[in-house]
């Protein structure tokens, strides 16, 4: 499957879905070896062509470029039924390594991404729960720095009131999908985990709500969902990634301040971005190795 690339995938349905399907960790792990999967299917006598995942869900099959195959299949073995329900069928995480780049100079603080995220992922509307948010930095001549993020910047920002301004800019924030994620390290039951493609996820059926991960995240990227009582954070819209789509925030950004794609690809918008800019990450001294890469970041940003 082709990796999602921000420049190549315009899609008007960005905020239409609304339903976030939580990805089950165990399910994820059990699907992470499609090769073994196919073998298993062969052994259980499902038949069908080994190149296409047997009975995969319509959407993912379409994304994978093969027609949904229904009639020719042998009737439901157990494996097959679970495949039909499986949103990950046909997706091979070992083929990907995702990252997001953010061009600070391009962000106009409109907050469309925050809105898109809340809608796409059913994030509670109250101003204490954000998977992504925007900060505005106002640096004054006297050296003062005033940072604000009214309601996460979801409806933009009020006019700057400070006097004697030296410079001002917006910084979008989200989970950094750290390569050395402290949140994963501390989770007592392993409910927070890093997938093979580098995305850090939470298994909501498994999380005990101890909130150690929230304490361990240096970036304030996590919150406890007030209804499910489990830890929550940005998933890079994983439910979209597996279908070959980019995260909702990336798609909604009017200035393309967010660029999403394969970290290791030689030619991708992300790779190009990395070539063209000096890149910085947040709190790099903590050795978390973030995969949200900032260009034109100011030293004041913390």
């Amino acid at each position: 499957m082709k990796g999602p690339e921000s420049e190549t995938m315009p899609d008007s349905r960005a905020t239409g879905g609304g339903a976030n399907q939580p990805v089950d960790r165990r399910e994820f792990l059990s699907r992470s070896l499609p090769a073994g999967w196919v073998l298993l299917a062969a052994f259980t006598g499902c038949g069908g062509e080994p190149s296409a995942p047997a009975g995969g869900s319509e959407a993912s099959a379409r994304e994978a470029g093969s027609a949904p195959d229904s009639g020719s299949q042998a009737p439901a073995s157990e494996v097959e039924t679970s495949a039909a329900r499986d949103p990950l069928a046909g997706y091979d995480p070992s083929q990907h390594k995702y990252a997001m780049a953010i061009d600070v100079d391009r962000c106009i603080g409109c907050g469309r991404c925050v809105e898109a995220c809340k809608t796409e992922n059913d994030v509670p509307r109250e101003p204490f729960y954000f998977r992504t948010w925007i900060e505005r930095y106002v640096i004054q001549r006297n050296g003062n720095t005033v940072v604000t993020s009214p309601n996460g910047g979801i409806s933009g920002f009020p006019p700057v009131e400070e006097a004697e301004i030296l410079r001002t800019f917006f910084v979008p924030k989200l989970c950094n999908h750290c390569d050395h994620p402290p949140c994963v390290q501390v989770c007592p039951v392993g409910a927070t985990f890093k997938t093979e493609d580098g995305v850090v996820l939470v298994d909501h059926d498994y999380c005990i709500g101890c909130r150690y991960c929230i304490q361990a995240c240096p970036y304030g990227a996590r919150f406890l969902h007030p209804v499910t009582r489990t830890a929550e954070k940005c998933t890079f819209c994983y439910h979209r990634l597996v279908k070959g789509l980019v995260p909702a925030c990336v798609e909604m950004c009017p200035t393309q301040a967010r660029i999403f794609g394969e970290l290791n690809a030689r030619s991708s918008p992300l790779a190009r971005f990395q070539r063209m800019h000096k890149i910085q990450t947040l709190k790099s001294h903590l050795n978390t190795e973030p995969k949200v890469l900032y260009a034109n970041l100011d030293g004041e940003v913390s």
């Binding site: 007592p188 039951v189 005990i208 101890c210 304490q215 406890l224 209804v227």
Partner: protein, 411 residues
Amino acid sequence: MESHIQTLMEVLQQTKGYIYPNEVELHWGLLVVVYPYVTGLVAGAFILASLERVFNVREVQPTYRLSLLTALAFLLVAPLPLLAHLGHPERSFEIFLTPNLNSAMAMFGFVYAWYLAVVLLLEIWFDYRKDAVIWSRHETGFRRLVHRVFTLGANDLSEHAVRFDRSAGKFITVIGIPSAFLLHGYVGFIFGSVKANPWWSSVLIPVVFLFSAMVSGIALILILYMLTSLFRRMEIDMRCADKLGSFLFYALIIDFSLEMLDFIHRLYEAEESIGILSQMISSRLFISLVVLQILLGTVVPLVLLGIFSPAFHTRAFVHAPAELRRLIYFCAAILIEVGIFSTRWNVVIGGQIFSKSLRGLTVYKVELLGLEGLLTSVFLLILPFVILYVLVKFLPPWPEAEAAAPSEPNS
């Protein structure tokens, strides 16, 4: 939930500077303050008991069994605050089934089980077995049944068996001391290893936790010993009280020095977090840290104990009559308990009221009701005393209870 959102709205109004939006909700509240406080008391009480056993400090002998039972009563309550603060307490067993071995918190279950089953229960069993056998012979009804069950059928009272009890008990104590260190040092590690949090992240935290645990444990036993003697109308053994007073002084000195070391070290290094941390100390934590923890909880008791307890010599600086000394010890111990509770508060809550953006402060509003509210915490702090009361009823820790039993050479 409505009231929760309401509270968060109020908090939002009271934040100062900039905090990350997800930080408005403070996640580890009063219950998580209670948790290290209670475990600290367990570790402290046990270490005091071991002094008598391993180092043969005869003076504190009257508090030996009381310390063990106190440790047990508090240990039984220790996991409850943790459980109550979980979003999904019903899933807590997952910690045992699929622990993430990299997680400091995942080890809790194992450290706890080890300490409860291997150390405390065994030690109490060996210590009381002989008495339980003798008691059960002269009793009827429920008490007899309880003591019978307690002995687990090991009724041998021969000199050999009793001697074995004693050496086994001693052996367990020797294992118990490092275990008590582990139990509480480990609690400190849960906080000390969070690199994201400059207020917690320090190698000294586990050590400070340990010594403050000893301080709180000894103080608690001192209080309990005095109160129980009062209620039983028994004379307080002043040699014991003096000794406890001196121990308290030593432990407090070490604890205070370590805390000051940590403090000076931070001040001198003056890392980027220093600005916001000093702001926090001088505003949000002023009462709980400067007044309660340092002044009332440490300096005042240090001075009192330094002057009136025989900590430096066989005689105190100022020789006060026993009556007055008792009062002073009692007051010092109460102050210390308040101080150590504030210490836990300052670590747990203090670590969360400054933003990790290092640009602002939030507030913590204790809710009254609810699983994580004030009432639950108060209940959890009273519960150990109720358990202790029951334990004491069935396993009287008093020296005369032991003496009253007729010793029989053979079963």
